[in-house]
């Protein structure tokens, strides 16, 4: 259960944020945030455009004295899958090993192939990224995140550029593959979290509000007003 930092006592949270001034250097903060995320928790972070949702994820990854993240294994998926066009799909999945200068073993290749099967792209391993559709590229990015065996998965509107039916497919796939991970999904559309997340936090200039039940949220006009009708 996610609650604002002051409201619940810490109980081995994976991520603790304590009075983080969210924003850019030299500019007034967008909001001051305190938050705790427990292991295995899945939460949607809602807020209007420019409220600082993506900045919060970026700050979690970059690190800050106000943030305690008890894992180094963090995965990040955004609208842009960040696939290198000159590499094959398989090599894109194994990119983390290459970037860390680690030797890619047969077992890593086998795992990558298995993950491509899991994301329903078994026949695409030797193709280049630009030959794939938007949905397929997102699947490759998911496979790359999974091979890193991340504890904390940060999703920054990863399917926003996809059509509705592909979005639903991707949400189903994520729900299945990220079942035992801690996940934060940033979006301004609660429908992205349908059947997958059951609680939501709302980022406002006044700070982080919540947790809210995602179903309750969809019917609560006062909360929608909080987002300045951005939905």
């Amino acid at each position: 259960m996610t609650k604002a930092f002051e409201e619940i006592p810490p109980n081995d949270p994976l991520l603790s944020i304590d009075k983080l001034n969210l924003g850019y250097q030299g500019q007034p903060p967008l909001a001051t945030i305190s938050w705790m995320i427990q292991r295995g928790q899945k939460v949607v972070l809602l807020g209007k455009s420019g409220s600082g949702k993506s900045t919060l994820l970026d700050t979690i990854i970059r690190g800050s004295s106000a943030i305690q993240c008890r894992t180094l294994r963090v995965a990040y998926l955004s609208q842009q899958p960040a696939l290198l066009p000159w590499l094959s799909i398989l090599d894109n999945v194994l990119l983390g090993f290459k970037l860390r200068g680690e030797k890619i073993l047969t077992q890593h290749r086998e795992r990558a192939r298995q993950l491509l099967i899991d994301v329903e792209l078994p026949y695409f391993k030797s193709q280049k990224a630009h030959q794939l559709s938007g949905g397929e590229r997102s699947r490759v990015a998911i496979a790359r995140a999974l091979i890193e065996d991340a504890d904390l998965v940060l999703l920054d509107e990863p399917f926003a550029a996809l059509d509705r039916s592909t979005k639903i497919q991707m949400a189903k796939l994520c729900k299945q593959l990220l079942a035992n991970k801690t996940v934060i999904l940033v979006t301004h559309d609660p429908r992205d979290a349908e059947d997958w997340f059951n609680e939501a936090m709302v980022l406002t200039p006044g700070g982080l509000k919540g947790p809210f039940d995602i179903d309750h949220f969809k019917n609560d006009h006062a909360l929608i007003q909080t987002l300045d009708g951005d939905l």
Partner: protein, 248 residues
């Protein structure tokens, strides 16, 4: 067919206007020779013109290669450090802001009247566009990509060579294409200031002897040479471009 027409049509139109002006205003040939006279000189003195054209072409091509290589190397050395960019940028900008005419005499003094001074001038002109474009390429990594790669806990050198450098290649090649169009300036200015060969030298001599038709013939060859070098650069760079473009 339409591509050939698109190239030939403006050239034909230009020659037609040129010919009409000479004929209509009865301009003396030592002021503006008619196209047929220039073509005659081009044909009759092809041996002489081609010797000088080869010299200029070598200066342009070697300067383009050396300048591109230097520009790319300097950009790679400073591309990963904002501090180094801040320190070196004034010197880089000055290298471009100083007119090549102003430093040509100094380069002549240092490097002599031969090939080296022309190579240096062409290299100097080519260097900056390639450096600036490559640096833009290093800065073009989308922030969401940076965030994604940060989570992969990369080594700095690996990130540079495996991601940032290949992503900068299309930008670098765009710089080479721009440089290829200005490279002849360095070679010709060098030949004007002091040389014993090249199309610039030939034009200068022809001018001193009142051989305007030879001047025009040299100019036509220079235009053809510049276009050919630019087209070859364009064709070669696009072959590499396709591999690294289309970031997804």
């Amino acid at each position: 067919m339409s591509r050939t027409l698109a190239i030939l049509a403006p050239v034909t139109l230009l020659i037609a206007i040129w010919w009409s002006v000479v004929t209509f205003f009865d301009i003396p040939h030592f002021i503006l020779p008619a196209p047929d006279r220039v073509a005659g000189v081009l044909f009759n003195r092809l041996g002489l013109i081609s010797i000088h054209a080869t010299t200029t072409a070598l200066e342009i091509i070697c300067g383009l290669l050396l300048g591109s290589l230097l520009g790319f190397t300097v950009a790679c050395l400073i591309g990963d450090s904002k501090r180094l960019q801040l320190i070196t940028m004034p010197a880089l900008i000055i290298s471009q802001a100083l007119p090549v005419f102003a430093i040509a005499p100094i380069l002549m003094l240092w490097l002599g009247y031969g090939f080296a001074s022309k190579l240096a001038m062409t290299t100097l002109i080519v260097f900056f566009p390639v450096t600036a474009s490559t640096l833009s390429g290093f800065r073009a990594l989308p922030s969401s990509w940076e965030t994604t790669f940060r989570t992969l806990r990369p080594r700095r050198a690996k990130l540079f060579f495996l991601v940032r450098l290949p992503l900068a290649v299309p930008y670098s090649l765009a710089g080479v294409r721009v440089a290829a169009s200005v490279a002849p300036i360095g070679a010709i200015v060098g030949e004007w200031v002091g040389s014993s060969g090249g199309l610039g030298y030939l034009m200068l001599h022809a001018n001193a002897r009142g051989q305007t038709d030879l001047m025009f013939a040299a100019l036509v060859v220079l235009c053809a040479e510049a276009l050919l070098i630019w087209s070859m650069t364009n064709w070669l760079s696009r072959r590499f471009d396709q591999k690294y473009a289309d970031t997804v």
